[in-house]
Amino acid sequence: MDMINQRSASRGADSILEIRGLHTSFFTSACEIPAVRGVDIAVRRGECLGVVGESGSGKSVTFLSALRLLASTGRIKRGEIIYGGHDLTKASASRLREVRGGEIAMIFQDPMSSLNPLMTIGAQIGEMIRAHGRSMNKNAVDARTLELLSTVLIPEPEKRLRQYPHEFSGGMRQRAMIAMALACKPSLLIADEPTTALDVSIQDQILKLLRRLQTDTGMSIVFITHDLGAVAELCTRVVVMYAGLVMEESPIEPLFDAPLHPYTRGLLASIPGLSQDRSRRLIPIPGSPPDMSAAPDGCPFAPRCEHARNICLSNPPALTPIVSDGQPDRLCRCWLYAPDAPRNPLNGGFLSKAAQGVES
């Protein structure tokens, strides 16, 4: 019941960050690599949005673009990033400095390369607090630092804040990064693969911490990952990306019960669950993700898709609303769901399978 209320409430709720028609490319001396090719994502206030995709799907680049943190070889070609009623692509450098870290914080996969090895953890968190214009004296900064370390459940915070990053374990470093991210009470936290480099036991601890922080502070979270299992633990809504495009967008449970896009279905089917029959072969997705320096014209997943038809290879399908099992709020980019697209016999078979859901 709670879930249903939350969902219907969030549908009408306003967005905290809206990415509209984003195109981002990287340029080498030889060619242009379109990493993000027209992405629309709205992050709703107070939600935890999972952004799932493989390496090269554009999931990180989308949100690095949103914060204008692209490397010098990357450029936003088109699109708007609406935050607080204004377009961040047109924002001044000083406005961007306010937003980054202050209102929207970001944490990354490898905390070791995001932390300064020559500064103590306490000094780095203190720097963050002071950088955002809070005129606080040293004692107040120290007190806030201690409070932050306790919030992220770092044991013995008084001792820890005088230590250097190399004295921290991987999980503790990620906690310290989260503490830094929380320093200015951001309203949106973008977590880019925060648990990928960690052991499953530590991943579990970090996911629990993020869940608790979200409940306590009400901030919105964007959780970028390749791991659908981690998404199921944390998120209420999911965006699945492939080759620089959003392929599917759905509330969390329907996505796992009845994934719409053949790519999502393939991903869920290829992961052995703990109840997987060991004598049965896994069902992999054939082939490899496309080379983005020669991005395909039609649906980028078509070469790997068992349902591909002629139209898929020539015309890219649009991201369209789908009502499946009475579940609203779902979008899918696939010709299978276009009533006016030429049908073939595979179509009916696929839809009935999708309705049954995927057992994994």
């Binding site: 499953v200 991943q203 579990d204 601890q205 997987q276």
Partner: protein, 326 residues
């Protein structure tokens, strides 16, 4: 009953730590400390545990990349524990390794043909260039690549294709034992199942034995016949694969299993067992007695005194904990 292909008895691999500034008695890391198991031909032995638990070191000692501190390793009836470097090459033909990162483990300046033929050049000087090429082409097709790929360099391949090259390199000598150290964790999710299926097909066709190391517990269960759980250099539980997941006995195993994402949002909300708290302690200064006691919800006074022995509880299921062995 035939002898097992690989038998590891009380294997210990200690490393001296220099310049740690600690007392002499503490400057030894007991990376592997008394590991015992056997592996039959055509079977898979899974080794799981958090990073730093010693699972990769254990595999490397077995491959004799290190010389073990003590214990005994028997491969195919031969004691290889202290075999000299000169005597090892014929042994290494029988055991090969598939590495985690196909981006780092393939020389970028070598063509795929040379990469796959390299083990042949080292171990089969009797083979002519043409014979080696034929073997390479045959191997390429078996791992799902083609002859046309042989002149290309690693950077021209995707991660999954590179790992296929890694598999081909390991299998070209027709080994009996293959150590797979996290063979899929660097690959994209959509590719992992391809490589896992490839490994299983080879096992079926060639009767290979795998020592399979991974941190993905669902994948280890899917691949392995027997699984051992390792913590700070020691096996804390060992069991036939299904039994371990159905009836985990050691609190560490239970915590690890409870940490795995449930795989479905509804199951995630229903989860009751809590995962593990804290981090793995430093192997330079491990806790006395049972090394897990500092994170164990059931720790008792005697856990600090002596490490509990690995005790059989029936059906080949063994665990090292005073809870099951009072």
């Amino acid at each position: 009953m035939t002898a097992p292909l690989l038998s590891v008895e009380n294997l210990a691999q200690h490393f001296r730590v220099r310049g740690s500034g600690r007392a002499e008695s503490r400057s030894v890391v007991r990376a592997v400390d008394g590991v015992t198991f056997t592996l039959d031909e055509g079977r898979t032995f899974g080794l799981v545990g958090e990073s730093g638990c010693g699972k990769s070191t254990c595999a490397r000692s077995i491959l004799r990349i290190y010389t073990p501190t003590s214990g005994r390793i028997t491969l195919d009836g031969e004691d290889i524990t202290h075999m000299s470097q000169d005597a090892l090459p014929p042994i290494r033909r029988k055991m090969q390794m598939i590495f985690q990162d196909p981006y780092a483990s393939l020389n970028p300046r070598m063509t795929v043909r040379d990469l796959i033929a390299e083990p042949l050049r080292a171990h089969r000087p009797d083979m002519s260039r043409a014979e080696a090429d034929d073997a390479v082409f045959e191997m390429l097709e078996k791992v799902g690549l083609t002859r046309e790929h042989s002149g290309r360099y690693p950077h021209e391949f995707s991660g999954g294709q590179r790992q296929r090259v890694g598999v081909a390199r390991a299998l070209i000598l027709r080994p009996k034992l293959v150590v797979c150290d996290e063979p899929i964790s660097a690959l994209d999710v959509s590719i992992q199942a391809q490589i896992v299926n490839l490994l299983r097909d080879f096992q079926e066709k060639l009767g290979l034995a795998y020592l399979f190391i991974a941190h993905d517990l669902s994948m280890v269960r899917y691949m392995s016949d027997t699984i051992s759980v390792m913590y700070l250099g020691k096996l804390v539980e060992s069991s036939p694969a299904d039994d371990l997941y159905a009836r985990p006995l050691h609190p560490y195993t239970r915590g690890l299993l409870a940490s795995i994402p449930a795989g479905h949002p509804r199951l995630a909300r229903l989860r009751t067992e809590s995962g593990l708290s804290g981090d793995i302690p430093s192997p330079i200064d491990p806790p006395s007695g049972c090394a897990f006691r500092t994170r164990c919800p059931h720790a008792m006074a005697r856990c600090a005194e002596a490490a509990p022995p690995l005790t059989e509880v029936g059906g080949g299921h063994r665990a090292a904990c005073y809870l099951i062995n009072p």
